[in-house]
Amino acid sequence: MSRKGTVSAVRIWKRFAVDHRRRLLRDQIGGLSRGLRGGGDRDWRWALRDVTLRVEPGEAVGIVGANGSGKSTFLKILTQVMYPYAGRVEVHGRVAALIELRAGIHPDLSGRENVYLYGSLVGMRRAEVVRQFDDIVEFSELSEAIDRQVKFYSSGMQMRLAFSVAAILQPDVLLVDEVLAVGDAAFQQKCLDRMQTLLSQGTTLVFVSHDLAAVEAISSRGMWLQNGAVEVIGPVRDVLGAYRHRIEELASSSGQASGIVRLKETSIKAPDGAEIRTQDPLEVRFVVENPDPRSVRLYLGVSEGPATPIFVVRRDMHLGTGESKVQCTIRSLPLPRGRYYLWAGIFDVKGRELLPWHPAAEFDARGPDLDSPPRGVVRLAPVHVDATWRLGAE
């Protein structure tokens, strides 16, 4: 008998019929006759292929991946809502799942009635709910709305209600699927704090989110699903690093940035030709090709993968006809060790796009690792960068 809070999913396979209409009667009759003739193959699509995940009590695992990569299906199999096609699932202890907003919430009932409904859905005795009712309402900050019908709640309020019940009742395993995003910033932080508390009390957490910063803040391990299979599993920073890298590759392969103005011969290096290091200068050089003379605003940014940059530098300049050389030096690179992407975009003075914001090059920085924030604290990267510019005609 394993300890409460252990999650073990071994070699899980799950498939769905490609066309749901085939489940209707007339198709069943057709399928039946085909099945009798021996060729009863339907078109199946694998949603999960050979996914294995073991989580110890008190551990937090973040699952990332593109839409349709099987994250939610995997969580549904962990909750035992869905049955796997093959493989073995064992989850010990009381499970609370926050999968999609309205799970367990009935729009015609009041918030109060829904707390009881939701409580019994996650296996709480009525007496327990009664005892903790005030805590739940206090956490959700919905005390004025608690006797209102839930259909008059905003989506954020519905999430608050569901999360509060799930969080206050202290489940052994908490499964959270991308529901926190609808809460406001303050409540999201409150949720993260609460999850942190639950983790320290021994609750196991499996967390699915596209908010990579939140995943990094809360999880110790990560799993990246790609087309239903495990792409990378391991320490959360490594997994997210690999995932961000893939996003970047996709962004640069999907559509060469095309605009009126073009960028050529981008190079990123340290001025002395040595490797790029934290706190050392970084030099970016490129050539801009421009058909007509105009005043432009040039933006450069550095990101860890997605289009949201860690910092941006900007320069207004006048470009003549033909090619212009641009050099930008960042005196002291404020980035820890890792792989980064240089993004660029050029706009005219009215903000019209001359060259879309796109990843132009990638580089590796050497140096110390970033100190990680305490668990449960979302790390963003607001940095101020001094830069000097030099412009000249080709």
Binding site: R11, W13, F16, A17, H20, R23, L24, L25, Q28, R49, D50, K76, T79, Q80, V81, M82, Y83, P84, Y85, A86, G87, R88, V95, A97, I99, E100, R102, A103, G104, H106, D108, L109, E113, Y116, L117, S120, L121, V122, G123, M124, R125, R126, A229, V230, E231, V232, I233, G234, P235, D238, V239, A242
Partner: protein, 283 residues
């Protein structure tokens, strides 16, 4: 960090998930979910009658309406032999089990579809939805029960001491109703056609069951078969014999009915458990 290799095209057969039906574990699960059943029934009830003028009184309307319609019209054309029992009482005794059955099948039968939102997101024994549907129908029937008392007072007729057979009849009735409800709820998920056919079948069913007429209308040689095909017939007849006429239920039709009820319940349960694995994929 470990990078897994591309998985094979299909899982090895020994990994295949096999459905196991363990009655003991299922019953334990159900018992642990009893709070949820209670909450669901409450929810159904409140949501059902919320914002209606009559409220819970709506539960009385269907059987009473049928009783009035049958008393006014059916009796005139069919000339039913009630063996001296006032017709309104005679038909109401049949209407109570019937409205329980039809309420249970129509509510419980659609309960999985209606709760697809929950079904997809939270785990609990799936049987509780049809069971909660049946319990709501049962409560409706309890609300309609006092009308029977009023009818007794009104007609000056009294229940007979053989009414002690009620628990046995009730057991057969509940087994059959639950079996049909379970089966209907599971099949509806896959064959949505049944959703449209169900009300029709139930409307027709009231005439295939001796609600408005007496079991005597069926030739004696066919009654055992009839009882096995429609266990509600001997049950309703049993109620009339025991409560109204002071006789022991007719065993020659009740026993086939009881056996059929048990068989229906068992088959429905196995069917439900087998179809259950796909509910979340389809609903």
């Amino acid at each position: 960090m470990s990078k897994t290799f591309e998985p094979p095209l299909a899982p090895p057969p020994e990994l295949r998930f096999r459905r196991q039906i363990r009655l003991g574990a299922s019953i334990r699960d159900l018992w642990q979910a009893r709070e949820l059943v209670r909450t669901l029934v409450e929810r159904d009830f409140r949501a059902h009658y919320k914002k209606t003028v009559l409220g819970f009184a709506w539960a009385i309307v269907p059987p009473v309406t049928f009783m009035i319609v049958f008393s006014l019209f059916f009796r005139r054309v069919a000339n039913v032999n009630t063996e001296g029992v006032p017709y309104s009482l005679f038909t109401y005794v049949g209407l109570l089990p019937w409205t329980f059955f039809s309420g249970s099948v129509s509510r419980g039968g659609l309960s999985l579809l209606a709760n697809a939102g929950l079904l997809n997101k939270v785990y609990f024994p799936r049987e509780i939805f049809p069971i909660a549907g049946m319990i709501s129908a049962g409560i409706d029937t309890l609300i309609a029960l006092p009308v029977l008392g009023i009818l007794f007072l009104f007609t000056g007729f009294a229940p007979k001491p053989t009414a002690v057979f009620i628990p046995l009849l009730l057991l057969i009735q509940v087994l059959f109703t639950l079996g049909v409800t379970l089966a209907a709820s599971a099949v509806v998920v896959y064959f949505r056609d049944l959703r449209h056919a169900l009300p029709l079948i139930l409307q027709f069913g009231i005439f295939a069951t001796p609600v408005a007429y007496s079991l005597d209308a069926i030739p004696a040689s066919l009654r055992a078969l009839y009882g096995a095909l429609n266990p509600l017939a001997p049950v309703i007849d049993g109620y009339r014999q025991a409560v109204l006429l002071g006789r022991v239920p007719a065993w020659d039709t009740l026993i086939p009915g009881a056996v059929a009820s048990c068989a229906v319940m068992l088959a429905a349960y196995v069917l439900f458990k087998h179809l259950e694995t796909g509910f979340a994929d389809v609903a």
